[in-house]
């Protein structure tokens, strides 16, 4: 009978192995899916027992904190209300009902215990306290941005071109993060800065200029004919007021935002090179901002039927793309990255909202280090384009952005036409950076709908105020 017993024991070993395999399946293989299952109230209760860390502005102003509620639990409060809703986000405690840094920095804020620490950790005390997250956001600039938009739909993004730190990021309309699911008008939950996509208009000429000069095909002094209208892809293209400029320099064409010149330049540079430079600036990819991936949209070219075109698709009207139309669909964050790349001598830094993580004893346990996202152009090209963009603010379409007090501002206006042909509706833009000789702030301002307003008149003053505020803050 002994050989049967040995076989029988072997059978039980197999049965027990099944038990261990299945336990492994739940504890390791399927664990994260199960923890996120909407039926699972355990995760929610455990999360609510954690005193999540605070989220703070760069000066220490509290943007999000935990307040006690009955039953050993905590809930979230947002002392600044709607002003930071799009970047800080919200945390309801329900599975999947959360957004912004509350999600992307959850690993710091909630400090979920792992490893041996969890066996012995709880013996030290029965409350888990998360770490504080300091953001790069400047409260004053944030307020100035909100005042500047003055209730109009739009967005302001300000970056430190040297580090990629997001100094201000505001989108109008906004919502109250304490009641994130309350119904509201005009898609208030959509963060225009990272999810709103609009034609960039002439601000995109900075990208075209970069492709033209850095590829060696043009210089700031190249002379190009600026007559209007010009046939581009078989359809006549006009300058504003159908003005003809005759032969003018490339610099002058940027200063006065001459469409016909830029459409020719884009066609001369060619689709492959234009696409290459767009990619260098970050178009076609999701910007590497530290928000949840679904909350940041990439900037693309959309075909006539609303379908996204592949990079360098033969359906692209590269001449009109060169002037920021032709189906270009871009976020304010992407345009701030364009300004930032020129400002930083051609090196585009990775944008980030998180600055550092501080534990409960006040020790900084992690600091986000600046990293180069992309090498867009040579420093020589960057300084030539900076000079051209200075002319825009000094004497061209961007004069309303002038900072005065001798601080040079390099910028570019944009006024994209939207709506049906013949309609007056525009998206006014301004992008730029200051001080032009030692850039510390790069900015993009977008108003999503204006009745014929130009970027120089509508968007440039807001950019000016935000930049002035940030520079006076010592940024």
């Amino acid at each position: 009978m002994n050989s049967q017993i040995v076989k029988l024991f072997g059978f039980f070993v197999v049965l027990f192995a099944l038990l261990i395999i299945w336990t492994t399946r739940w504890t390791v293989i399927d664990a994260s899916a199960l923890n996120a299952n909407p039926l699972n109230s355990r995760t929610v209760i455990l999360q609510a027992r954690i005193k999540r860390g605070r989220i703070l502005a760069d000066n220490g102003a509290v943007l999000a904190k935990s307040v006690p509620k009955p039953g050993r639990q905590w809930s979230r409060a947002y002392p600044q209300g709607p002003l930071y809703a799009q970047s800080v986000g919200y945390w309801t405690g329900e599975n999947g009902n959360a957004a912004g840094l509350e999600v992307s920095d959850n690993k710091y804020l909630s400090v979920t215990q792992t490893g041996l620490n969890s066996v012995f950790g709880p013996l030290g005390g029965n409350q888990t306290v998360g770490n504080d997250v300091y953001t790069t956001l400047d409260p004053k600039a944030q307020q100035v941005a909100q005042q500047g938009l003055a209730g109009r739909g739009g967005s302001v993004v300000a970056l430190d071109p040297r580090t990629g730190a997001v100094l201000a990021m505001y989108s109008n309309p906004t919502y109250n993060p304490s009641h994130p699911n309350a119904p509201c008008n005009n898609s208030c939950q959509v963060d225009r800065a990272t999810q709103g996509r609009y034609p960039p208009g002439s601000t995109f000429k900075v990208v075209t200029t970069t492709a033209a000069i850095n590829s060696g095909k043009f210089t700031p002094n190249s002379v190009i004919n600026g007559d209007s209208p010009k046939l581009i892809s078989g359809v006549p293209l006009q300058n504003d007021y159908n003005q003809s400029f005759g032969p003018i320099t490339f610099t002058k064409a940027l200063t006065d935002s001459v469409n016909t010149v830029y459409a020719q330049v884009a066609q001369d540079v060619g689709r492959p090179t234009m696409t290459d430079y767009m990619k260098r600036f970050g178009f076609y990819s999701t910007p590497p901002l530290d928000l949840p991936s679904g909350e940041v949209f990439r900037s693309v070219v959309v075909g006539p039927h609303g379908k996204e075109l592949a990079p360098a698709s033969p359906n692209e009207d590269i001449g009109r793309i060169g002037i920021g139309q032709g189906g270009l669909d871009v976020t304010p964050l992407q345009m701030a990255m364009v300004a930032s790349a020129v400002a930083n001598g051609g090196k585009l830094m990775t944008p980030h909202l998180t600055d550092r993580v501080v534990n409960q004893t006040g020790q900084t346990i992690q600091t986000i280090q600046p990293t180069v996202y992309s090498n867009v152009m040579t420093p020589a090209t960057a300084s030539q384009i900076t000079q051209m963009m200075r002319d825009v603010v000094d004497e061209g379409t961007g004069t309303p952005a002038q900072l005065g007090s001798g601080i040079p501002f390099a910028g570019k206006t944009g006024t994209a036409s939207i709506g049906p042909t013949g309609s007056n509706e525009t998206v006014p833009w301004f992008i730029g950076f200051a001080p032009a000789n030692n850039p510390k702030v790069a900015v993009a301002v977008m108003i999503e709908k204006s009745n014929g307003g130009f970027g120089g008149q509508v968007a440039a003053p807001i950019a000016k105020n935000v930049v002035q505020t940030l520079l006076s803050e010592g940024k």
């Binding site: 049967q4 017993i5 038990l19 664990a31 013996l123």
Partner: protein, 428 residues
């Protein structure tokens, strides 16, 4: 080192575990180390020492690992139950004492356990009676759809199937010892299938049929799987005929299919097993228990959330059927695996005693007891981990439950008796 000294040293980890475990729970509760935890540890160690001395005096040659393994599992169980409910833990500790008394009584009364054979029909009759008891009005009680408990005046409840499993194994060991030769020699091939002779197999079938009817009446599929598995295991060990087992399994699958489609309580268990995360079944309560067991395990991860960190209120029957989910939640995959390995080691030592035995009855008895024990662990842990549909049996020595603790101590006593006889030096 002698077998008994090895056993004595084997108790040290159990005592350390119970002390550390209570200390952990106390710190968790009050942030202070209470000397009560040390007292608990000391009392537990004292009880184990008493049992050890008893084994030393009566069964000097018995397997040295079986008792320390049980002490380890039982001490772990008492800490776990204490962590869930301190009142239940006190009752559990009392049952532990009762179990030890019955353990000693069994060893003393059945020094020569082979005299059990004389009472095999009495034993099987009592076992079947015990199975039916919970269905009787007045003392029976329905738990979670199945008739499992009897209520004794004084507020105690009792699951008699725990004792039936031992009685049935004793009966089968004795009966198969007598008939196993005849079954093999008299086997005939009918339509290409080898069947045992009806004459000898008949009584097994009759008794088994009765047991199955009782279980259908009680709707207790967990025990049914356990008993049926034990029968097939013993039949296989006795005859070496895999074909008998295959026929048995097929018959069981048919029966299970019938139960699954005709008894709503059983059908619900199947549904809850197959579609655990279906929101409708979950909200209806059909898969709520299994799903929350799985969620608890998922939250445990590799190392667990730590003692006292799980939320037992989310798991129905956390202290009995679902205790494995709590263990995995608090001690993680590693802790749960360690417990399973301790069980497997116990089963291994039981089978070892079976192979060392010199007579067929002893071999069949030890193999049957080890098999029924292993099956009990598999049925409940398999149910909690969704390997099979969840049915309520206790996790031996760990789950809260008086009958379970006491009956399993009797099972341990019988295994020790068999192993002592098997390992006794032969006088020449």
């Amino acid at each position: 080192m002698s077998a008994r000294n090895r056993e004595l040293f084997g108790l040290i980890p159990a005592a350390l575990l119970v002390t550390a475990g209570f200390a952990g729970v106390f710190i968790q509760r009050q942030n202070v180390l209470s000397n009560v935890s040390l007292t608990y540890g000391a009392i537990f160690l004292g009880l184990c020492l008493v049992a050890h001395i008893c084994i030393r005096m009566t069964l000097p040659n018995a397997d040295p690992y079986l008792f320390p393994l049980v002490a380890l599992l039982a001490s772990f169980g008492i800490v776990m139950v204490y962590r869930l409910d301190s009142t239940l833990a006190r009752q559990q500790a009392q049952w532990f004492v009762v179990g030890l008394i019955l353990f000693v009584a069994t060893i003393v009364a059945f020094r020569d356990y082979r005299k059990l054979e004389q009472y095999r029909y009495v034993i099987v009759a009592v076992s079947l009676l015990l199975l039916i008891l919970p269905r009787l009005p007045g003392i029976g009680a329905q738990v979670n759809g199945a008739y499992l408990e009897i209520r004794v005046p004084g507020g105690l409840s009792f699951q008699p199937t725990e004792f039936s499993k031992i009685g049935l194994v004793i009966f089968l060991a004795s009966y198969l010892r007598d008939t196993r030769q005849a079954m093999v020699l008299g086997a005939r091939r009918i339509l290409g299938v080898t069947l045992p002779p009806l004459k000898h197999f008949g009584p097994v079938l009759v008794i088994w049929g009765l047991a199955m009817v009782a279980l259908v009446l009680l709707s207790d599929i967990g025990s049914s799987v356990m008993f049926y598995g034990a029968l097939l295991s013993m039949l296989y060990v006795a005859t070496g005929r895999l074909s008998f087992v295959v026929i048995g399994v097929l018959a069981f699958v048919l029966g299970a299919w019938f139960l699954g489609t005709h008894i709503s309580h059983v059908h619900a268990r199947f549904e809850g097993w197959q579609h655990t995360l279906n929101p409708q079944l979950y909200r209806k309560g059909v898969s709520y228990q299994v799903a929350n067991g799985i969620f608890a395990q998922a939250a445990g991860g590799l190392f667990g959330q730590g003692f006292g960190q799980s939320i037992p209120s989310l798991i129905p029957f956390a202290d009995t059927d679902m205790i494995y989910a709590v263990i995995t939640n608090e001690l993680g995959l590693f802790g749960a695996t360690a417990i399973l390995l301790a069980y497997l080691l116990f089963v291994f030592r039981g089978f070892k005693a079976a192979t060392m035995s010199r007579d067929s009855f002893s071999t069949l008895l030890a193999a049957g007891l080890s098999a029924v024990f292993a099956l009990q662990v598999f049925v409940i842990v398999g149910g909690v981990t969704r390997v099979i549909p969840l049915t309520g049996v206790t996790l031996p020595f760990i789950s809260y439950g008086g009958a379970s603790i006491v009956a399993n101590f009797v099972l341990l006593a019988l295994l020790l008796l068999v192993s002592d006889r098997a390992r006794r030096p032969v006088a020449r």
